[in-house]
């Protein structure tokens, strides 16, 4: 019985808990972290319950807030797609929260901790809400909630973070307003805000130019939030200068949820034929993705700061997802959805590792990683897993989503995109083996046979357990996702892809 309420609870619980946490922190700061973790665990339970329910029922769950029937009331609709995303978000958020404790205690002034945890919860609230809601305007509000908390916690970061955050505010607001404009256009045309209702109404006015304009506004708005290529300019600064824990939370989740929104709008709200047959949206997206990936790879090659490199990598990864969307067939979309989930784990893995390295050595410069494999072997092991996953080495999960993307591009006969996929994975290999080389190999002179064990002075010096555990769990997740990607597709994703494909 209570399980029917999960769709609301998963949004409301973190919301209320964030304020309670804030109040509690006034007299006992040490309670903050347990509350955070407990709340996220609850959310995890809710998310899994929802997914279980969706798989059991086999059709979307509709939850009417306040008992008002749609299209008048706000409705939360959970189908296979967003149930999957919910679970992924919940898991990653939980792991990152576990990881965050030690990092923030080192990086932030302890008077800032309560705010951090509060904003953490608000962020998660926003993400859950965006994923769960079935109402266009409600989505806007939750998008803004997520964005505010993002602005605020990013601003807590190192020197220059506040400026980056301000830029993010400007861009984010443009994005949100563009999205709102899109909502406005749709509202004028249809008089409805409910996604399912819109899906019914829109096909009648396909040839209406205003509809196209609204669609364009949607794309631009969400595109800014998710950082697709030409609209990504805020992303590298903001995510690089943010505190490690923050970028470990935002980088995996926020952009991917944006990708989810794009899929939702293109394939649920607007009928797929709108962007496939009616207008050459897919071709445009394909070109954007191709150029974006090329650009992002080049920029990433130019970086010596590991975190900034990863930030450009995010842009590339979003490009992959867009490629999956642009190939506009079952295989490609499967790849895109799978990549949303996989990429959450991959980015979480890499960013947590960067945070750990910062935590121990205080540097992010790739060329100062010498001897790191002696001091922090576990962290580097996790990093290698993540790196190989991004490069696309099976059985890490990155390979499998790439596999479906490739199949999709082949089926769509989009050879340019296929080439981009293959070439970019090579560039990723260069990127990461550059790091691995610096971290693992210790260049020495000709015929230098160091006595075994090399430099005994350099001894093990790892990060705290909480961080290690969460990082290891993420790495394990990457491998498991890879091996069992077939199961996920069989039980969830194949229902998430629109039936018309």
């Amino acid at each position: 019985m209570i399980q029917e309420q999960f769709p609301a609870l998963i949004v409301v619980t973190p919301l209320i808990m964030s304020f309670i946490l804030f109040t509690v922190s006034w007299w006992n700061k040490r309670l903050c972290f347990p509350i955070l973790l407990a709340t996220l665990s609850a959310c995890l339970v809710f998310a899994i319950g929802i997914l279980d329910m969706v798989i059991k029922h086999g059709q979307p769950i509709h939850y009417h807030l306040g008992g008002w029937d749609p299209p008048w009331g706000i409705e939360y609709v959970i189908d296979h797609l967003n149930a999957l995303v919910l679970v992924a978000v919940a898991v990653v958020a939980w792991l990152v929260a576990l990881y965050a404790k030690s990092v923030v205690e080192k990086e932030l002034h302890e008077s800032k901790l309560p705010q951090f945890y509060t904003l953490f919860l608000l962020q998660v609230t926003g993400l859950f809400g965006i994923t769960a809601t079935g109402d266009m305007f409600n989505l806007y509000v939750l998008l803004e909630i997520a964005s505010f908390s993002a602005y605020a916690i990013i601003a807590m970061g190192e020197r220059g973070a506040d400026f980056a955050a301000f830029r993010y505010v400007i861009f984010g607001t443009i994005g949100a307003c563009a999205y709102l404009l899109g909502v406005g256009y749709l509202y004028i045309l249809t008089g409805s805000l409910n996604m399912a209702d819109l899906a019914q109404l829109i096909p009648k006015l396909f040839y209406n130019k205003a509809l196209l304009v609204g669609f364009a506004f949607f794309l631009v708005g969400v595109g800014i939030k998710m950082g697709i290529f030409p609209l990504h300019t805020w992303l590298p600064d903001a995510y690089t200068l943010a505190p490690s824990a923050v970028s470990a939370l935002l980088a995996p989740l926020f952009t991917k949820v944006g990708a989810y929104v794009i899929i939702r709008i293109m394939f649920t709200v607007f009928d797929p034929s709108f962007s496939i047959k009616l207008y050459p949206v897919m071709d445009i997206l394909g070109w954007i993705a191709a150029i974006g990936i090329a650009f992002a790879c080049i920029m990433a090659l130019a970086q010596s700061d590991l975190k900034r490199m990863l930030c450009y990598l995010i842009v590339a990864e979003m490009g992959y997802i867009v490629i999956g969307i642009a190939s506009a067939n079952r295989l490609g979309l499967t790849g895109a959805i799978l990549h949303i989930v996989n990429d959450m784990f991959m980015m979480a893995c890499l960013f947590t590792v960067v945070g750990a390295i910062m935590y121990q050595t205080g540097t992010r410069n790739i060329y100062q990683f010498r001897y790191l494999h002696r001091t922090m072997p576990v962290t580097l092991g996790v990093f290698v897993v993540g790196a190989l996953s991004v490069v696309g080495v099976p059985p890490m999960c990155g390979f499998f989503s790439k596999w479906y993307l490739i199949l999709g591009t082949i089926e769509a006969k989009k050879w340019l995109l296929l080439f981009v996929l293959l070439a970019s994975s090579l560039v990723n290999a260069i990127l990461f083996f550059r790091v691995i080389e610096n971290a693992y190999l210790e260049p020495r002179g000709e015929h230098a046979f160091a006595h075994d064990g090399g430099h005994p002075s350099i001894s093990l010096d790892e990060v705290p357990w909480s961080m290690l555990i969460s990082m290891l769990m993420i790495a394990a997740g990457i491998i498991l996702l890879g091996i069992f990607s077939g199961v996920i597709i069989k039980h969830v994703i194949q229902f998430a892809v629109p039936a018309s494909f």
Binding site: V12, I16, I20, T23, L65, G67
Partner: protein, 160 residues
């Protein structure tokens, strides 16, 4: 702005005005579902009264009456009322915020139960909005320094 600027007229006038503003905000709240108005507006008006205090007197004076801590608690309290009512409906077997179900514990029929439920929600909203507005104002005014972290140098250039 956050410094003291003695002016007998302004001080008296504002001291005279503040209660009326607060009463008016409560009116806006209570009348929210019979006429334009409601929690947001009421909350803003209520917050305005504090802002007036700060402007007329100075920030320390205002904080004596309404400290950051209380503000924070209020802010949580509002949300708590809001979601609390939601949870209540939920526990009574309805959906989240399904006020109709409140009739089970209120001595009224579902229609009036909705009425009261909304009233409660609006109250929560008002409290939160008020607290948030005040805290935004204070944060900006004190440049984010909480809890008496204000030293003399923060008291703006136009002091004395």
């Amino acid at each position: 702005m956050i410094s003291r600027w003695e002016d007998i007229i302004i001080e008296t006038l504002s001291r005279f005005l503040v209660p009326f503003m607060q009463i008016y905000s409560l009116y806006v709240l209570a009348h929210g579902h019979g006429s334009p108005g409601g929690g947001f507006q009421g909350g803003c008006i209520f917050a305005a009264s504090f802002v007036l205090l700060v402007i007329a007197y100075d920030i320390f004076e205002a904080k004596k009456r309404f400290s950051e801590k209380i503000n924070g608690i209020f802010c949580a309290l509002g949300v708590f009322i809001y979601t609390g009512i939601g949870w209540l409906c939920l526990l009574l077997g309805g959906n989240f915020l399904d006020y109709g179900k409140l009739s089970k514990i209120l001595p009224t029929d579902p229609v009036m139960a909705r009425y009261y439920g909304m009233a409660g929600i609006e109250t929560g909203v008002q409290i939160t909005v008020m607290a948030i507005m005040v805290s935004i104002f204070l944060d900006l005014a004190t440049a984010g320094r909480h809890e008496g972290a204000l030293e003399e140098e923060d008291v703006g250039v136009d002091s004395k």
